[in-house]
């Protein structure tokens, strides 16, 4: 018999996926006295990572203190480039103040899983869940495949953290299909030897540059950056794919840069799943479609939902009832949280922005050309934009009223 990384066939919690959601779920589960087993289908944690790697300062600090081991660069500002090429610089109210980080997710993800392992969770890589174990409508575990061997692993609660290409909840009967217009078809190069501002992210908007999405340059250190793009799946077609747009931009903007990594990806910008729990099952992170629909950011949301899932699982297991009804506390808590409200608000803003022609985007960006934000958040930017463009209030209607 093959020696196995996991010693048991029964755990309190089984976690599918070793990204930020799964790692936080595993760690939180053991910290709450549960036994936990995390499976990652890929042979390595954190590689390849499909991510632009940006996270806000406060968002990161809610979970851990930054460590130079997995921080690639510190950001003090951001720039938005309008479709006509006009650059709007956004700086935090305090000059030189850090507003966010660009992570090195290869090391960041490993650190998160290491912390889960250190806390006592069992971990297995190159190991996948290939089917749920169902009993009377309850999810009771999963068939776990590792190097050609299939083992039934049962658990009181299964936490699905299997990312954008999530299958587990679908096998359990939950429709997780992302509408074609709400998947951001994405490609990113890690580029070396490029002229960039080392402490500022840059976002390029416009239907010629990135239809219904945006193109980003996120610094990874001196003369190195994540240069990537997301375009709407609706706009993607032969000859007009994410890679075509990105290559055109790179050729023009960084003709002498070298690409040292090429990663494709999909980012959902739809509303989250209608319900993120079932009997014995909690769905987290990208699998739950809790990505911020405006920014495409998902690291914080994944860590937040992963941690919450394990907290709720611990409470329900302790009370001996892991029915959907009881696990709903998870769904209700994140939906009413700051994260849940931000997703809902940013969904409306995204829906508004993708309908605007380039001329209108130019107008908006020109009119707010220099803002000194007191707080460096999407919210304060939107509030400022509306303040300077009172006309937008009419376009945005109820949404604008709610955020004044």
């Amino acid at each position: 018999m093959l020696w196995r990384w996991f010693m048991k066939n029964k755990y309190d919690v089984l976690i599918i996926g070793g990204g930020p959601a799964g790692a936080l779920a595993a760690r939180t589960a053991v910290e709450n006295g549960l036994s936990a087993f995390l499976v990652e289908k890929r042979p390595a944690i954190g590689a390849p990572v499909r991510c632009a790697e940006g996270i806000g300062k406060d968002a990161l600090h809610e979970f851990m203190d930054p460590d130079p081991k997995w921080i690639s660069a510190e950001m003090t500002g951001a720039s938005i480039v309008a479709p006509d090429g006009f650059l709007m610089k956004l700086e935090s109210g305090l000059a030189g103040n850090k507003v966010g980080y660009i992570l090195d997710r290869k090391f960041f993800d490993r650190e998160l899983v290491w912390k889960a392992a250190e806390a006592g969770a069992d971990i297995a890589v190159k190991t996948r869940a290939s089917a749920p174990i169902m009993e009377n409508g309850f999810v009771k575990g999963a068939k776990i495949e590792c190097c050609g061997t299939v083992t039934n692993v049962t658990a009181d609660v299964v936490i699905a953290a299997d990312g954008v290409e999530s299958k587990f909840s679908r096998w359990c009967g939950i429709d997780t299909t992302v509408p074609v217009g709400e998947i951001m078809s994405s490609v990113q190069y890690v580029m070396a030897d490029v002229d960039i501002d080392t402490h500022s992210t840059v976002f390029y908007l416009g239907n010629e540059i990135a239809p219904q999405g945006y193109l980003w340059v996120f610094p990874k250190g001196d003369r190195s950056a994540n240069v990537g793009i997301g375009i709407s799946g609706k706009k993607s077609r032969e000859g007009h794919r994410a890679k075509d747009y990105l290559d055109r931009f790179v050729k023009k903007t960084f003709p002498h840069g070298k690409s040292i990594e090429c990663i494709a990806g999909g980012v959902s910008v739809c509303r989250p799943l209608d319900c993120t729990v079932a009997d014995g099952l909690i769905i987290t992170g990208d699998a739950a479609r809790v990505v911020d629909p405006l920014t495409g950011g998902g690291i914080y949301n994944s860590m937040y939902t992963g941690r919450l899932a394990a907290q709720v699982a611990a409470e329900c297991i302790g009370k001996g009832d892991v029915s959907k009804n009881k696990l709903m506390v998870y769904d209700k808590t994140w939906r009413t949280s700051k994260m849940g409200k931000t997703i809902e608000r940013n969904y409306h803003i995204k829906e508004y922005l993708i309908k605007q022609p380039d001329a209108k985007l130019n107008d908006i960006i020109h009119s707010v050309s220099k803002i000194n934000l007191k707080e460096f958040t999407t919210m304060s930017l939107i509030t400022e934009i509306i303040r300077v463009n009172p006309k937008l209030m009419l376009d945005l209607g109820a949404l604008a009223a709610s955020i004044r």
Partner: protein, 58 residues
């Protein structure tokens, strides 16, 4: 039928998320197409790299 150009595929899973039939699965660096795929072509449209193609059989 759906053809996967494995030399182009970046095994990113973008296609898996939009498949209305649940007929695609990404197993590490290998994209699997199930027999119930209807060749609707949604995955081929959204692929960031253009690795998927609906081939019409004679």
């Amino acid at each position: 039928m759906l053809k996967v150009h494995r030399d182009i595929c970046g095994y990113c899973g973008c296609c898996v998320s939009v498949c209305p039939e649940g007929a695609l699965e990404l197993i590490d660096a290998y994209l699997c197409v199930e027999k119930w795929c209807t060749s609707c072509g949604i995955c081929a449209k959204v692929c960031p790299l253009g690795a998927l193609e609906v081939v019409h059989e004679k």
